[in-house]
Every structure is written in C-alpha cells, then in structure tokens.
C-alpha cells in the first residue's frame, strides 16, 4: 500500500506540473463565469418583445391570444409537474394542474385560465406547503407585444431594410421600465390570405427561433381556417377541425406503481456523461503519455526492481484517478457555488437540476457509474500505453480506441434521450465499457431498479477482470523489447510473467 501511494503521489506531482492540468481545471469555472456574466449583462429577462404591423387588422389580436394560450399551456404543464413532484395534487384533485396530462387538452387549458391561471393556483397551494416545499415560481410570459417604435418604416417587398429598422432590432427595448430583448417585427399585408400575399418577419440573429415558429403556426392555422371557410365549411366546423386532436392519449404510469423506475428530470446525469468522457479521455491521455515515457526511457526496470508491476499499475490508476477526481470536484464545486449563490444562466439551469436529485439510490448509482466508468476507461488508456513503444505508436493504437469509445457513446446519447427503452441504449447498458454512459444517459427518462443493480454488478466484475488482464499486460510488456503483435498481447493477457 505504501508503494502504491508513493507511485500515486509521483504521478500526481508530474501531472500537476503540466500546463494542461491547470487549463482543464480552470475550464469549467471560466465557462461558468462567462456564461453567468453574459446572461447577467445581456439577458436579464426572458420575455422577448415583438411588434406586429397588421394592415389587414385581422391577425394581430389572434396572435396575441394564441401567444397567451401557448404560454398558459406551458405554465400548466410546469405547474402540474410541480404539483406531482411535491405531492400537492390532493389540494384540489379536480383542478387541471392536478392532472399531468391536462396541458395536452385545450379544454383543460381553457378551464385553467378561467379558474384564474397560475396566480389562482399558487394562492390555493400556498397555505398547504410545508417548509421543505419551495413555492411555485410563476414565470414571466415568454413574449410580449409592443408597439412599433417611432420612425420605423416597413420596407416594401424587395426593398432594402432601413437603417432605423435594423438598429431597433439590434437594440433592447424599454417596456414599463424593463429592458427587453426585441425579437421580431411581423408585417402582415392587407391582402394576406390571398394567393401571393406574404407575411414577413423581420428579425435579428439573436431572436428566438420558437417565437418565429409560434408566429408561423398561428398564421398558418388562421389561413387554413379561411381556406376551410372558402370551401363552404362553417367557421365552427372549421375550428372544430383545427382543434381536433388525433385520438391518441398519452399514458404514463405514475412512478412507484407497476414497474419500479428510477428517473430524474435533472440534467446532472447527462452532464456527467460529458464530464466522464472529457475527464477520462484527457487524464487517460496524460496517463498514456506517462507510461510511454517510462517505457521509451527504459525506466521500468529500475522501478520494477523495487515494486511489483501490479503495484506500479495500481499506483498509476490511483494517482491519475485522484487527478480526475480533483478536476471533477473542482468543476462540480464551482457549478454548485454558481447554482446556489449566483444568478444567471448557470444558476437557472443548474438549480432545478440539483433539486431534482432527490433519490439516494439515484445519487449512489450516478457516483458508481461515474467512478466505474472512469476506472474502466483509464485502464484502457494504461493498456495502450503499456503496449506502445513510442508516442507515435500510442497514437496509432489510440485513434481506434477513441473511436471505439466515442461512437457508441454518441449513439447511446441520442438513443437514450429519445426514450429509456431504445434497443441500442438497452444493449449498450450491458456492455461494461459503455454501461456508465448508457445508464447515466437513460436515468433521465427512467430505468428499472434491477437494471441499475445488475449493470453495476457487471461493471464491478468487469473492472476486476480488467485489473487482472491489465496487470498481465503490464507485467509481460514492460520488459519485453520486441514489438507487440495482437497475438502476443493476447498471450500476455493470460501470462504469469514475461514469457511471451
């Protein structure tokens, strides 16, 4: 043990002396500082302002109502998730927000609005909250309509955009003493709805894509409705057709019933996937360099005269594992501080993520997957180092290894975000090299408890096996001066010493 610690300490000192380590360490804090700073300075409000110049006079009010409706729908959705999470549905079981599916139903949204919207619901819930339950925060509306600023001229079709229009869009706009980003100006010609007539949205780069999509959808719906009318379909029927939903109901068994699921709405597991990938690959490369240096410098024999190859390997794993842990803890620590003590983008994303981590099994599983994944990958890098004669040699082995790690990880991330039961994600969950990535990614949408336990057992068994194999490769390859072939590498895996 003493020797393992000595080796670990030496490895750590070597890495800490490199610039790369400090750059890595500082990366996340700097990114957080920039994002916090940026959002503090540039985007204090979420609400985006827009203007409508409606020469037809028909669409502006419609747009306003629809915008409000979609905001109300989002609010209802968030409120019902909040009510479910904090078990507040019992306060009014009949209320729209007591039903997680209500936001999908226009009639329920309507009922929600008529009952006084979020404000009324919050007032109702307020007395029922115990001290651990945070109050529901009503968000500002996503979009607000403002009058077209003075002096802005809408250019005719095909004409250049005027200077004033451009500068207005680039600037923020003051509404009731608040500075709001100015997202878009929608121009609707008088003859809109007739063939050839075109509505135009003037915008700048930073404007919200979803604002434009909203505008488009609302206008399209309205145009469709007119088309129905022109075909002789009564306005009421047309509206009914529009709002008619395909009879698909979304069924989601509540957690804790039927199958037992561990799921979190937190972004933390997904963030861990990236952290794992980045730290494992970077510290893994440092590890690899260290081993190759020792190998090409013929250092091993002096060291191996004093300690066993297994001790050397374990010391390296421990030392570089500690480096990885220092990096991750620094990142996580600054993230936590940013989330808890500062406002801004970072806090807005991180805080709800941390609050969603409420299940001890979930937290434990995340830690095990992260550390397990780190060790599994670190050993792969160590093995590559042990069989490489030179850095070029290592590069040629490393490229396929990195692809072997990265490609399935990217695939599994895509798949897991689609749903927890995507076959690729399911299969990769049971391949130990990918288990940590697949399982962390799937935690967002729910994984059965038995699957967590099963994959962890398999992961640990695999780590044990990997330690043995790597120990053999280390022992056999370090003193062998010949170039390793795949055949020899496989024979090393099973060998007792360097007879290979």
């Amino acid at each position: 043990m003493r020797e393992i610690l000595l080796v670990a300490k030496r490895e750590m000192r070597q890495v800490i002396a490199t610039k790369g380590f400090w750059i890595m360490l500082a990366a996340v804090p700097i990114a957080l500082a920039i994002s916090g700073f940026a959002s503090n300075q540039l985007a204090p409000e979420r609400t985006t302002a827009y203007s409508v110049v409606d020469e037809s006079g028909r669409y502006a009010p419609l747009l306003e109502t629809q915008m409000q409706a979609s905001f109300r729908q989002a609010t209802l959705r968030e409120l019902s998730e909040y009510a479910e999470k904090w078990e507040l549905q019992h306060v009014d079981p009949e209320a729209p927000w007591a039903n997680r599916q209500a936001w999908l139903n226009p009639a329920e949204i309507q009922r929600f609005a008529e009952a006084g919207g979020a404000e009324a619901a919050v007032a109702l819930l307020e007395p029922e909250l115990d001290e651990d339950t945070p109050p529901f925060e009503i968000e500002d509306p996503y979009y607000t309509e403002v009058a077209l600023p003075d002096g802005v001229a809408i250019p005719a079709v095909g004409e250049e955009v005027g200077e004033r229009l451009r500068s207005v869009l680039e600037d923020d706009i003051t509404v009731d003493d608040r500075r709001l980003p100015y997202g878009a100006i929608l121009h609707i010609p008088a003859n809109f709805g007739q063939p050839g007539a075109q509505a135009r949205i003037f915008t700048n780069g930073r404007s919200n894509a979803s604002l434009i999509r909203n505008m488009r959808e609302i206008l399209s719906a309205s145009v469709r409705q007119d088309a129905f009318a022109a075909q002789g379909i009564a306005p009421d029927t047309a509206i009914a057709l529009q709002t008619m939903q395909a009879p698909v109901s979304v069924i989601e068994p509540p957690p804790g019933e039927g199958r037992s699921l561990v799921a979190t709405r937190s972004l933390v597991p997904i963030a861990l996937v990236y952290l794992l990938l980045i730290t494992a690959v970077t510290t893994g490369s440092m590890m690899l360099q260290g081993v190759v240096e020792e190998r090409s410098n013929k250092l091993f024999e002096s060291v191996l005269a004093c300690i066993k190859p297994d001790t050397l390997m374990q010391g390296k794993l421990l030392g570089l594992g500690a480096i990885g842990l220092i990096i991750v803890l620094t990142w996580a620590g600054t993230g936590l501080v940013a989330a808890l003590y500062f406002e801004g983008f970072a806090a807005e994303v991180l805080r709800p993520s941390l609050e969603a981590l409420d299940d001890p099994l979930l937290i434990l599983a995340m830690i095990i997957y992260f550390l397990g994944g780190y060790v599994v990958l670190a050993m792969v890098f160590l093995a590559v180092g042990a069989i490489s004669e030179s850095m070029q040699d290592a590069q040629s082995y490393l490229t396929p290894v990195i692809f072997l790690i990265m490609i399935p990880v990217v695939i599994v991330m895509q798949a897991a975000l689609k749903g927890p039961d995507e076959p690729v994600a399911l299969i990769l969950s049971w391949i130990p090299l990918y288990t940590p990535f697949a399982m962390l990614a799937r935690l967002g949408s729910g994984v059965a408890t038995w699957e967590i336990i099963g994959t962890i057992v398999l992961l640990i068994a695999f780590i044990w096996l990997e330690l043995k194999l790597l120990g053999n490769i280390f022992r056999a390859s370090l003193l062998n001066d010949g170039k390793p072939t795949w055949k020899r590498i496989f024979s090393w895996m099973g060998s007792k010493d360097s007879a290979g």
Partner: protein, 307 residues
C-alpha cells in the same frame, strides 16, 4: 566459510522455445566483488532479473541473501539496470529520494543519504535541476546514486560502465571497491574484461546461457597453460615440462624463444631446472595470461566482448 549472498541452483529460463539461461549453478560469497562475464545475449541480464524477481525462472532455485527472490529484499538491494532512464521532469534530488522511498526508506534519511551521494558524485550543485537539464554522463551518475542511496548490502549492476567516459568509469570503479570495503557484496555484469580484471574477486563466465567458468581470477588463469619468454643459446623444447616453443630473433648466438609449458607446470619449475642444470639464460619473463585470454579459452573467440 562466509555466508552466501546469492546462489543459483539448476536455474533455467526459457522464453518460448528459446533457452536464455541453461541449468546455471553458482554461489556468491558475501562481501566479494563478483563479475558476470559474457558476450551479448549470454544471459547476464536475464540472470540478474531473475535474482530481482522481475522474471521468474522456468526451473531451478535462486536464493538471495538466504531468501527467495522477492520485492521484500528491495530494501537491501541496489540495482543499476543495463538500460538507463529517469523521469525527465523530476529533479535530481527528488528522483533519488523517490527510489530510496520505493526501497522502504523514510523521507528524511533518504534526503540526507541522497545529498551525501550527490556530494560524492560531484553533482550537489545540480540537486534541484530537472533530469532533462543534465548531460548524459551526469544522468548516469544520478542513476548510480539511485542504486546506492539505500546503502545496499547487495549491489547488482548490469553493464555499469557502458556509456560512461573514462573519468566517470574510474569514479565508478572506486565506488564499487568502496562499497565492497564497507561490507557490501557487489555483482556486476560486463562484456569488458579490463573492468572485471581490475575489480573482481570471483567470476562467472557465461556462454549462451551456460556456465563456462566459475571461480577466482587465479583459478581461471591456472586453467591456461603457462607462457613465458626466455633468451637462451639452445632451443628449450627438450627441457622437462615444455609443450612447445617458437624461436624469435637471434643476436650474438642468443635466441629469444616463446615457450608454452605443459598443463599444470609452473614457470618457477622450469627456472629452477635451468639454474640447477646450468642451462645458460639471459632473460626469463613469465607472461601472465590476461582475463581476455582466459575468457577466450573458456568461452571461445566468437563472443562479442572487449578486452
């Protein structure tokens, strides 16, 4: 009879089908300077590695200071590998302390021992410099220091003189002799005969993994027929004990002869015979065979060795 520092008993090491060390038997008494002599590929490095438990023998038994080879002995062993290398970014002092600690020393005594050695090796001013700033010769000396730092009872040096300039070679010879005077057993391998000739009490000559000779330098020489050169009036071929002669240049009736005696006959015996029987001699020079000659006698002339 002094205790045994190291003993090989029927040791064989095979790499696949290839036998690198073949049924090797020898014992090294404590406190002596012992040389492993052999050409390239003779099995010197492999033997040392087995004694260090870096490799394990295919068959046979090895004893190191009365114990099985294992890392537990590391505290009492100093080892200089054939292929040298150190951590480039580490300072000279840290490097020596690191190896001292790997050999079970505590940090504080390790540091004072390291500083003392650096003084001795004239490297004290470089203690804080990273290894990469050192010349090759200096780095070699640092590596010697990593082997010596724990004042080992058993010093194992694999080709210690290779890569050193003559000044540093002499310094290393002094260090080896000094360690032995202080009671350490020194084992070193070499393919350069003159170092062994100057230093070794005992020798092991290896020929392709097999033992060719094991004993003292005198014993090795005694195995060769004695040679001498004398200046006489008549050919000494007929004298008792003379195997063969070779006439050299003549001058005023005196001829110089190279004489090889029969196996086991000492030059003294011939000289005594000549004086007793009135054989006139003008000169009588005994030629002691060099270690190189004994090596060729035991191992053959094909090996890649140096005088």
């Amino acid at each position: 009879m002094p205790a045994t520092a190291m003993a090989f008993d029927g040791v064989t090491k095979q790499f696949g089908d290839f036998t690198a060390v073949d049924n090797l038997n020898f014992a090294i008494p404590e406190g002596c300077i012992f040389g492993f002599l052999g050409g390239n590929g003779a099995g010197k490095t492999t033997s040392l590695r087995m004694a260090l438990d870096i490799l394990s023998p295919t068959s046979g038994r090895i004893e190191v200071m009365g114990k099985e080879p294992s890392r537990e002995n590391a505290a009492e062993i100093g080892f200089l590998p054939e292929e040298r290398g150190l951590y480039k970014k580490m300072s000279v002092l840290d490097t020596i302390i690191y190896f001292a600690q790997l050999k079970q020393m505590e940090a504080a005594p390790a540091k004072s021992a390291a500083m003392a050695l650096l003084e001795r090796l004239e490297l004290a001013d470089w203690a804080k410099s990273p290894i990469e700033k050192l010349s090759k010769g200096m780095a070699q000396k640092v590596q010697v220091a990593t082997a010596l730092v724990n004042s080992p009872k058993l010093l194992m040096l694999d080709e210690p003189f290779s890569g050193l300039d003559p000044v540093n070679q002499a310094m290393l010879e002094d260090l080896i002799a000094e360690s032995a005077r202080n009671g350490a057993t020194v084992i070193f391998s070499t393919h350069v005969m003159q170092h062994a000739e100057r230093l070794c009490d005992r020798l092991l000559m290896l020929a392709r993994g097999k033992k060719a000779f094991d004993g003292t330098q005198d014993e090795a020489r005694a195995a060769l027929p004695s040679r001498l050169a004398l200046t006489a009036k008549a050919d000494p071929s007929a004298l008792p004990g003379v195997e063969r002669t070779h006439a050299g240049e003549s001058h005023d009736g005196w001829t110089r002869y190279e004489v090889e005696l029969q196996q086991g006959i000492e030059p003294d015996a011939l000289l005594e015979h000549c004086t007793a029987n009135g054989v006139p001699l003008r000169s009588f020079d005994v030629q002691v065979p060099s270690l190189h000659e004994t090596f060729i006698h035991f191992v053959g002339a094909d090996e890649e060795i140096e005088r």
